[in-house]
Symmetry: D3
Subunit: 275 residues, 6 copies
Amino acid sequence: MFHHSSKLQYEVRVDTPDPVFAKYLQQAIGGVEGEIRVAMQYLFQAMGARGDSKFRDMLMMTATEELSHIEFLGHAVALNLQTAPLSQQEAAAQDSVVGAIMGGMNPRHVLSSGLSAMPVNSNGVPFDMSHVYATGNIAADMLANAMAESSGRVLASRLYNMTDDAGMKDMLSFLIARDTMHQQQWMAVIEELGGIEACTPIPNSTPESHEAMEHSYYFLNTSLDEPTPQGVWTNGGPTMDGRGTYMAKEKPEPQGQKPDLGKAREGSGAQKEQM
Amino acid sequence: MFHHSSKLQYEVRVDTPDPVFAKYLQQAIGGVEGEIRVAMQYLFQAMGARGDSKFRDMLMMTATEELSHIEFLGHAVALNLQTAPLSQQEAAAQDSVVGAIMGGMNPRHVLSSGLSAMPVNSNGVPFDMSHVYATGNIAADMLANAMAESSGRVLASRLYNMTDDAGMKDMLSFLIARDTMHQQQWMAVIEELGGIEACTPIPNSTPESHEAMEHSYYFLNTSLDEPTPQGVWTNGGPTMDGRGTYMAKEKPEPQGQKPDLGKAREGSGAQKEQM
Amino acid sequence: MFHHSSKLQYEVRVDTPDPVFAKYLQQAIGGVEGEIRVAMQYLFQAMGARGDSKFRDMLMMTATEELSHIEFLGHAVALNLQTAPLSQQEAAAQDSVVGAIMGGMNPRHVLSSGLSAMPVNSNGVPFDMSHVYATGNIAADMLANAMAESSGRVLASRLYNMTDDAGMKDMLSFLIARDTMHQQQWMAVIEELGGIEACTPIPNSTPESHEAMEHSYYFLNTSLDEPTPQGVWTNGGPTMDGRGTYMAKEKPEPQGQKPDLGKAREGSGAQKEQM
Amino acid sequence: MFHHSSKLQYEVRVDTPDPVFAKYLQQAIGGVEGEIRVAMQYLFQAMGARGDSKFRDMLMMTATEELSHIEFLGHAVALNLQTAPLSQQEAAAQDSVVGAIMGGMNPRHVLSSGLSAMPVNSNGVPFDMSHVYATGNIAADMLANAMAESSGRVLASRLYNMTDDAGMKDMLSFLIARDTMHQQQWMAVIEELGGIEACTPIPNSTPESHEAMEHSYYFLNTSLDEPTPQGVWTNGGPTMDGRGTYMAKEKPEPQGQKPDLGKAREGSGAQKEQM
Amino acid sequence: MFHHSSKLQYEVRVDTPDPVFAKYLQQAIGGVEGEIRVAMQYLFQAMGARGDSKFRDMLMMTATEELSHIEFLGHAVALNLQTAPLSQQEAAAQDSVVGAIMGGMNPRHVLSSGLSAMPVNSNGVPFDMSHVYATGNIAADMLANAMAESSGRVLASRLYNMTDDAGMKDMLSFLIARDTMHQQQWMAVIEELGGIEACTPIPNSTPESHEAMEHSYYFLNTSLDEPTPQGVWTNGGPTMDGRGTYMAKEKPEPQGQKPDLGKAREGSGAQKEQM
Amino acid sequence: MFHHSSKLQYEVRVDTPDPVFAKYLQQAIGGVEGEIRVAMQYLFQAMGARGDSKFRDMLMMTATEELSHIEFLGHAVALNLQTAPLSQQEAAAQDSVVGAIMGGMNPRHVLSSGLSAMPVNSNGVPFDMSHVYATGNIAADMLANAMAESSGRVLASRLYNMTDDAGMKDMLSFLIARDTMHQQQWMAVIEELGGIEACTPIPNSTPESHEAMEHSYYFLNTSLDEPTPQGVWTNGGPTMDGRGTYMAKEKPEPQGQKPDLGKAREGSGAQKEQM
């Protein structure tokens, strides 16, 4: 069960409201790299967690933190919109080229939300929940979480660069820090489970008899003219799961047939010539 | 530039066509765990790759392989649909409860595609390209790729279990194997770049001055009644990036203000009582 | 800032797991009538609330409650999936017509989530955040909320009828009750603001000079053959906003011009014949 | 059956074409507050109407009117685009900062539609029909309609403020007026059905035995630190449905269990450590 | 401006209601091959039509007809749902395998619409307006329309086969007929404009100087192992636009460079190793 | 099976990087008129092709070419972004009105992709695979392909006009040329199959007994005040399928009943007043 306290997790200050930056900030709320995504991802992973309950607890605790991030980011967007133009006259007063602000801000920040945050990204595209990755496999989920926090910290760093506002920089430095911890935390779970070697290939519960293992450890060079790029993945050393050896296969031949579906059946809505 | 040869990368055989399984298989084509996603993800990552070109080459080579996976899975779906009912009479002939097949298969496999594969998932929801994750940061992208291949191998394993068809099991065992390699391969890139310690926090190019580092290494226990779950993430040991120490913070107090946006502005479309 | 306690807001019990009902229940999580929608809608309305802060507080408190509803519904879905078939053999064992369960459940409950809830509706369509209505106008928002709770209670009632499971009926009777309160509560806000007469037309801050008031109070009968349906809306009595009189206008004539855009411009990509 | 006459319902005049305002106007066509939504919503509600046929007739008549609104708004968008730049030279000639117009208008107004209206909102996001709310419950539908018209009138008022064009202001004043009537009209239906008391809780056909009525009338204060906001919803007076008394419940304790799904099943694609 | 008359364009009769067929029928309403699409496509094309107004008139007239098709199909769906199960008991009574109907019908036909049509396809995916193709180029639009009517007639023919209901077959035979005319009608416009030779390449207003005409008339055989398929497109005869000769080009060599984006810029959020 | 060679199909050169034009170019990658669409459309049509295999081969060969188009366009977008501002200082340095570039470019080109192409259109809306039209009917598919190439060439022509960059104009002139061929090529298939007369009505395999042919050849004038537009479609001549005569029908009367669904059923969630 959830509870709320009335203050924000972190202080939000905007020295100079900027409606174009408000549009950019939306990416951190409703973008695939944003806070709605991680809040919901951790919540759904927690609700589906099976096995040791401590992982469920961790997920729920961090889901709860991310909800608080949505909340203070939403406040930051609204503060950046406080002085946004509500009429063409105001827009003209704010820039020498009539239309640069009207054209550059998200129109829906005026038209739809009345100067408040929305659950959309910086293009105004609403977040859609297909980005909530929760597979029921804890290792796959931890990778998904580490990935989400990585793209989240990349985003926060870019936003940090795109503003000169001291208040916004302060808030973003907090987000950058928390994303650091969340990356470390999800990777620590993999460590706790024995590390990459024990955890992979994911899922580690698939019986080897279900796997055509002769195809499990070669890098396939599908290029007609490039040599195989060299690196750990081709160095003949042991694979990270400890089960094989990194190899390469060049200029592969097709192993299957030329596909042929024959003629179309009657009543299938095809042209007569296909039947 | 791309080229094609006429045979499939791997042989596809369906012993007993099954239109309900065809619906399930669609997840491997148009699901977020599926082949369109990885093909396009690696392609876009390759097109945006900066730095050492060998990573671009790797990405493009595997993108090309994934296109071949779409192709043989598409053939597998069509073969599973070869005998699907095209009329209510045929449906009735195929099951004792009129409607179990008509209700259980994807209607669009008859109505829209005429017994062929579609770029949709097992719910018939079309794949949407927002799931192509390509951040311009190679470490973040490698995590995204390892995650995609993990969910892909989880999916292939589940599909393997959901069919009794020997041909389908054979094809899926090949996919399981290739997903093994692709997991190993993307994690090998992280190894090549110095491993998790050197790569994290992602992005490793963010100056420390942009980060409120006093908030970078504590696990936040937002629960009112649960103790902090114990593990690597709280053991006081060094964090995986080598920059800090894992700590926990319980029953955190809000650090920010109670938000207040004041009154609504005139002309903002609010109610008079808000002004 | 948000907090969590480890127990559910309401007890969840499933006497007989039913994977088809799990699919139905998803509508209450990820449908437009469901709990993600109201949780996020109230959160975003709260974050954008201007004027008397008590409405902001109300919204945030109920947003928090709705998060708890997502949580126990998610548990209910997972419990209904506990015995869902993971192989065709299990599916066959569970029904006499092979495929009725495999065809009738949501395939992604096996393939994608591994027997857990997802943020999708009963068709497997992911929730998308465009359904979070938050206009910055408190009266419009209260109508949106009353509407959401109405469709929510309609849904809960229908789900109640579609199951025989005593545990599920108990849980749904709790949801029906809470939706009752939430309907009453949002309409109470309108009452607090002076009732429908004071609140409408929404927004009540639009100057009358911006409105072509000669068009504000007639019902337009656009039918060629039906008489105007009679009722409060045509009875010549005062309109609910107290500003006008309900009237009807039959067989309306167009008041505008026949549209004509002239010829296409050069360089516009039209056909020559259009230029 | 539908018919058409060649003139517009209302005259459309654009004194000074403005491609950025054309982008804004799109919200009134393809936004969730726009005309496609209400036209389709009323049409689908009419097609599903059961009970007294006069409500079906009303719905169809107003659906028809809304189609006419799409038509004249579409003309208004096209007129605003008549002089939009079709080349970078034209763009440069129209503003001193090369790119302000090219950056501020919707690119697809040139690239995709060739200077015509599109069924998208002001962010260029296509309207999606999930916003057509039609529940089969007339009271829920009337709230949905009143809400749609409220957000529609909020939008029209904001658009009115965002333009200086006399022709556009005139057209928008007509829309503001019609939205007034439509708000009044749908609320009149609720009045006709006995008013809020008789209509709520929606659906009023749910047997009381399906409702855990001990939970039906308290406001839940989920905050840890805020007192319950006072108002009609807590004043101890009768609820609007006449069935209960408004109460408040503070610092609620969870009533349910701590969720536990146990171990993952074999064959479910989880990690071994979860099994 | 639009008008309505109260009767349907065509009579709708359902002899034996069938909720699974109702799900299938939805494809003709909210599928990409369905009536919402063509109604809206023709409406938006009409609103953007430039040049001879007779084409605008044609488009609007047929748009109006398609609205009437939505209307009678919506009635057909509702009639097919008249006896659909509203409880698990009713579902059990209707089929010997509990769940075959509950699993096979669209759950939202009970849960969301209350036994009425919805603007969704046969997978329950809502129609989205990105499928309204209106380019501002009349020839491109006519091809889009002929295509839409072709897929529409394919769909209607498949639906005809999937039902045994005489009433439904009668209604579908009407749709098949109208789709015939609409195909003929849009192709007649191309004929009126001079036929394929005069109309193509579309747009025919692109100056030849904008086209690298040395690349305009060869079929590119990108296969490594298949000979060029022979046909009109390779027969050395004149192309249909009368401007060239059909040729083939085998085993094409890349004409461009190997792409290289160099190093990542500082502040771009990439890894240090990329910089 | 697919293969790749390391050079681009066509050379890409950008003389003056322009982040606003990068946004526009995205339409050619991820727009409905763009290259992802045709690549995937031809691939899925090929995978479902039944009948003479030469059409399958053609489709696959051109699908492969379109993949190469995605590749060089992706490079073009990245080159246009090479100097895009990564900070507000850089943005200010690049234009005299702070914000014109930040407002005019796609924010996600900085925030999400780090100066690289994305699978989105010029509004930042991700491509969704519902636009992959593949019906299983070869004639319908050829129309869909000719239409896609028509809108593609319209788009390329408009993009050609919107840039002054010689490198970009050169690349676009190549795309214009290839779209010319692809239009000619798909129409050549129709010719190969006997031309429009033999191919239509599509599908030509629908038995005439399934069609209410008395409704197959009249143009329906649904206008109340406009005469029937005259042209090939009304000239009394033979229809293009050779089966009928073009006719017109004015002021049509409804042929169906007034719809009536009666009362709502108990348990359906309607209001009592509807029952």
